[in-house]
Amino acid sequence: MTRNQEERIGVYVCHCGTNIAGVVDVAQVAEWAAAKLQHRGVVIAREYKFMCSSLGQELIEKDIKELDLNRVVVAACSPHLHEKTFRTACANAGLNPFMCEMVSIREQVSWVHTDKSAATSKAMAMVSGGVERVRHHVPLEPLTVPIHPATLVVGGGIAGIQSALEIADAGHQVYVVEREPSIGGHMAQFDKTFPTLDCSACILTPKMVSVGTHPNVKLLTWSQVEKVEGYVGNFSVTIRKKARKIKEDLCTGCGICQEKCPKKVIDDVYEAGLGYRKAVYTPFPQAVPKFPVMDVANCTYYEKGTCKACEKFCPTDAIDFDQQDEILNVQVGNIILATGYDLFDARRISNYGYGRLPNVFSSLEFERLSNAAGPTNGQVVLRDGKTIPKSVGIVHCVGSRDRNYNNYCSVICCMQSIKFAHLVHERTGATVYNFYIDIRAAFKDYDEFYQRILEEGTQFIRGKVAEISDVPRVASEEGKLIIQVEDTLAGKQRRIPVDMVILSSGLQPRADSKATAKVFGISCSANGWYIEKHPKLDPVATMTEGIFIAGCAQGPKDIPASVAQGAAAAARVLGKIEQKEVALEPVRASVIEDQCSGCRICNGLCPFNAISFLEDRMVTEINPALCQGCGTCVAACPAGAIVGTGFSNEQVMAQIEGLMLMNIEPAEVIA
């Protein structure tokens, strides 16, 4: 960290048009720096309209060459905008790019302060801070690491499927990890999709199949990611492949085992509790992969130790009761998280009666009811399984736009509810009431669809449903579900008796989204959606290099949006793969072995496992490739034995001195 040669510093103050010059007296700042910071090594201080312009950069390059500058301070905008620009300029002039320090006198001064003199003297202080800091800069070389061409896609819903296929088609290896027995996600449970009303399965299954059969895709269902180590380009991922109790190499997916299995189990996941499956099962006929899984919790053999019907009848001896979980480790360069959403649990809103009043259905239940392949073969009937409803109420925004539950809009519920209205009408001819707060039909062909449903005669009542009860007040309400609502258009309270109610539940983040985020080292918003790098300009990347997000994991969205984001994430990954290698910021920590006492205080601090203890030498060691440069261990080392490049103690301490104008006679400063 010690400075080798005598400092020759150039200071460049940017006007940024009037953005800075409008508030900060840039000329004064430059003159001041030239005069007062001379004894700190400043040999030249200039001002210029736009430092970032090619002319501005040339100015710097010229000075570096002609004045033999060995350090540069640029007082302009935020380093997040132009640090690269000016580092490149230095590099062009043959100066190590890390000998450049940026001072943000736009975002931190001119744009936020009005008092010109206060702003100007603050700018001076910041320049002095930059100068003091840069005196301690040392040449650094960015570590470049090769990018592993393989990619991990977590989540086999439509978003994950899309990105997997894009990358695989481009000829790169993809691992798809899905925790359910089959890929397909929520979309596989739907019957129709809005607004086109085409068959969900018909458009999804072909994609599922091509994922399952693609030579570049390694499909790992009934599996979960347990650990992610490493960094962009070089992630090492540990995956638990849960025991299916089925030998995949032997199983043909003939389905005999499911036929013969004597144990019926209510299917809460796929059939939303409306139907049954066996203890050994594939969630649905078109499942990919075709192999069934054994439901150990419910299998008679595991309960009683006898049965083994499946084993007896399996033509290929594919059943393996002793099969154990497998731990796989895969190397990938990039990761796409498409872990999807959970449906809001309508039980939480007790006055809607879901779970208490039999004929109140959740949206997912209705999807299954209306699904030709569902428990009722597409028949819309009441809980009793036969009665066809004459009147149906559909409640929008269940759990959404509601400060008691989720304050955000779930985006899809309006269109979903409208779709339901159509299906009910089509299958039963019943009168349909939709209860909405606002209709949000904002995308291509959506509003047209809405109009069409209006024409079908569905009644839309604007108002938030207060209560759903089965307590009649008048004869006409006998045996009905009564929906209590304020019709805000008519401006009156209404009680509407119906046979069936469908609650259009909103979407919410996966219950374990925060835990998942931790595993992958990304962050979640307060409500649990993954945070994108930039809400507008970078909605698929995350703050963690090499990790991208797609689909509802990032926030509620409909199928087309999920597909688009999946493809976008794939495009970003392909871009990275094409770069072949990635340069890491050389902000790293390292241990001075002589000074390390082996106290092991730092050992527990690194979340990236970059710190290890060498028992033989009784000292701590830091792996520069794993180190992410947060500097926590540097600050923690009681012996001062850990040093950090880019943000060394010397640099920060000097900057503080500079900011406090410690190296200048006070009288001339606080003017």
Partner: protein, 159 residues
């Protein structure tokens, strides 16, 4: 002296959240007082208490430590380490005769430009109310005998 008193405040920011919040406050043109001067760190976990003490010893009247919200740390959990240090630092400063209000911990995400600005403004007023940093009972003016000790030279302080 307090009539003319303009506090000087050093703020330590995290490269991933609060520093970006400051950027955002800028792009959104949200105004706040010019008393605060920011230092960028990669993470609040990098905050060595030495920096805080250095700032106070160098003339800062207050120090603001900012980082990502709990659970949102770019480096997963390092902001919790900053939290622990902060709590211990406050206790120690109290023992050294400084008002604990002179240092402040603020969680601010990259999206909270407005909040960042208002918190800075609030802190400036808190410090203004506390007045210039005085050195408790160890202040030179309280000496036995007339002689006032001469301060250590800077090189020694920062050596």
């Amino acid at each position: 002296m307090t009539d003319a008193f303009e506090p000087t405040i050093i703020g330590f920011t995290c490269n991933w959240c609060s520093y970006r919040a400051a950027d955002l406050a800028g792009t959104a043109r949200i105004k706040y007082p010019a008393n605060v001067r920011l230092v960028r760190l990669m993470c609040s976990g990098r905050l060595d208490p030495t920096f805080v003490f250095k700032a106070l010893a160098s003339g800062a009247d207050g120090v603001m430590i900012t980082g990502c919200h709990p659970g949102e740390c770019h480096y997963l959990e390092q902001n919790y380490k900053a939290l622990r240090r902060f709590q211990l630092m406050q206790r120690t400063l109290k023992g050294l005769g400084l008002e604990s209000g002179r240092i402040k911990l603020l969680w601010a995400s990259a999206a909270e430009g407005a909040r960042f600005a208002s918190e800075v403004a609030a802190f400036v007023e808190e410090i203004r109310a506390l007045g210039p940093l005085h050195w408790g009972r160890a202040d030179a003016s309280e000496a036995v005998g007339a002689e006032v000790a001469e301060g250590p030279r800077l090189q020694e302080v920062s050596a």
